[in-house]
Amino acid sequence: MSIKALHVRLGLGAILFSALLFFIAIPNWVSSPSNVRNIVLAPTFWPNILAGLMAVTGLGLILTSRQAHAIGETEDEPDGAWLRLLGVAVIMALTMYALSRLGMVWTSMLAFAATAFLFRTRYPVTALVCAVVVPLLLYAFFAHVAGVAVPQGNFVRLP
């Protein structure tokens, strides 16, 4: 993507986002009491100002896209990049799902191993050992030194 195209897309995105804020997000999700005496003290004032500034910035990005200077070399997409990105997203979603069910330590072990293999590690045995040891060490610190109530899950509880 050229720098000009990038600026045009960012500008359009900012203007669309600003419109979304003005017409949908602020009216629906920012509550303002009816007895506010002055507009500058209203809870909606600041978000509206920011939305306005975002629209102005978006416009600026589009108008100055011709003059924007290059950002360096563009990089080719490596093979299977999108699949791996999807893989990370799935690992993150599953981690969120499993944290309260399996517990933080077991979930972290699985997330560690899955991520290392997704990155095609050249040291699978080391990765597996670290996948077990690192979460246990972190559990020992946070649960026993910092006094954090680390989620234990419904199956195997750690001391």
Binding site: L6, A14, W29
Partner: protein, 500 residues
Amino acid sequence: MSFADSLMAGLSLVGNPSAFFALFCGIVIGVIGGAIPGLSATMAVALTLPFTFAMQPINGILLLLGVYKGGIFGGSIPAILIKTPGTPASSATILDGYPMAERGEAGRALGMALWASCTADLVSNLSLILFAGWLASFALNFGPPEFFALILFSLTIIAGVSGDSLLRGALSALLGLLLATVGLDLVYGTNRFTFGDPNMMGGLNFIAVLIGLFAIPEIIAMARHPTAHLGTARSLGHARATLADYLKSLKSIIRGSLIGVFLGSIPGIGAAPSAFLSYSEARRTSKNKANFGKGEIEGVAASEAGNNGVAGATLIPLLALGVPGDVITAIIIGAFMIHGLQPGPMMFILNVDIIYGLFIGLIVSSVFLFLVGTVAIHGFKFVADVPRRILMPAVLVLCVFGVFAVNNNIFDVGVMFAMGWVGYAMMRLHIPAAPFLIAFILGPLLEDNFRQSMLMSGSDPSILFRGPITWFFWTLTAITVFAIARSTARATRIARGMGG
């Protein structure tokens, strides 16, 4: 309280092994973190932050300051050995450091980098001690309108200097300001973008946002390109930096340190511009001008002095005004808040023991940096050999534990992941993350001070221009905006000239 009393109070706080051990560990972690390309000093500080929760406030903050200082120096090691700066601040070190490494003089370049770093660090710490108290006593006169003008000025600078495009930086800062509005309104207590979720009523957790923005995108980027980091390290060689080398470069080191102090004390400038300015000044005034860029040891000294001179000075606005000088000090401000401390002029009255404890710790940190740095130069091979495809999953797990530990809330882990994807999208779209984070921190302060000013004046905006202090900051803001606009226009003209 007299200076001697304050000093004694500080000494009583840090005069124990645990405080110095925390500082030492911080420097070790920082040097290792800075030396691993892609990890960066910022990420090292962010990842260390959760470990400070269980510590005494002074020990926790000293640990983070150690990571900060160690990280800035650590970044120079891969810059010289593998031509990959560990932190953006070390980019200027490559210019002469790597050619020296190619000539088999990596050990000499690294030695000079260490000496210059420690000297600049000391100068920077001394200036912090000298100026922070003075600035804080001046800032005691500030009310909401003055703070509003000051924070607006800080935001202007941050948006302007944290990338190669002013508008992309401004967009990033606006997104950060917008995200900071999430939660209950502070005056009326009504919901703003909470979507009915009680988890969002207190606003988004700062640690979750910062780790999401700075650590998670690196993990996602690694998934996209798992082998992008592979490189070859040069050997140290037999040549070492000598006292004669140091004395020859001393003028550039001192000049670079002072440039670092000056630029570091202005919120938002950061270490990289300071390193490049110091380097260009050294080249301009050097007798060996022609050697610069080909492996001139004075070039290494100047760039390292420039970037390390910033490290203590960025704490001047942090401690005296409560305004972060750069991204790392923005993270450190979070550590203060977690421990129930509010940096700013009142801290010099209410927590003077902590302030002076930090000053003492910072002076000692220069000595620790020298010791750790000497070992680190020889141990870099082991750091370089840490497989990043195992390191990054470990970072992921550390992030999950660390973010959860802040509030014992799984929701924060979700916020971190979400912010990670936002940060990755910003990385791909060349939108700098630094203005986002700093605006996220300064946003509520800006809005609160604005609304307090309006409440004080009965909504009369003229209160924002009520005295010489506000006028001073408004003038600075105007000058900065003008300077940024002019330099952007000049850069565009140069780019056009090169293109056509």
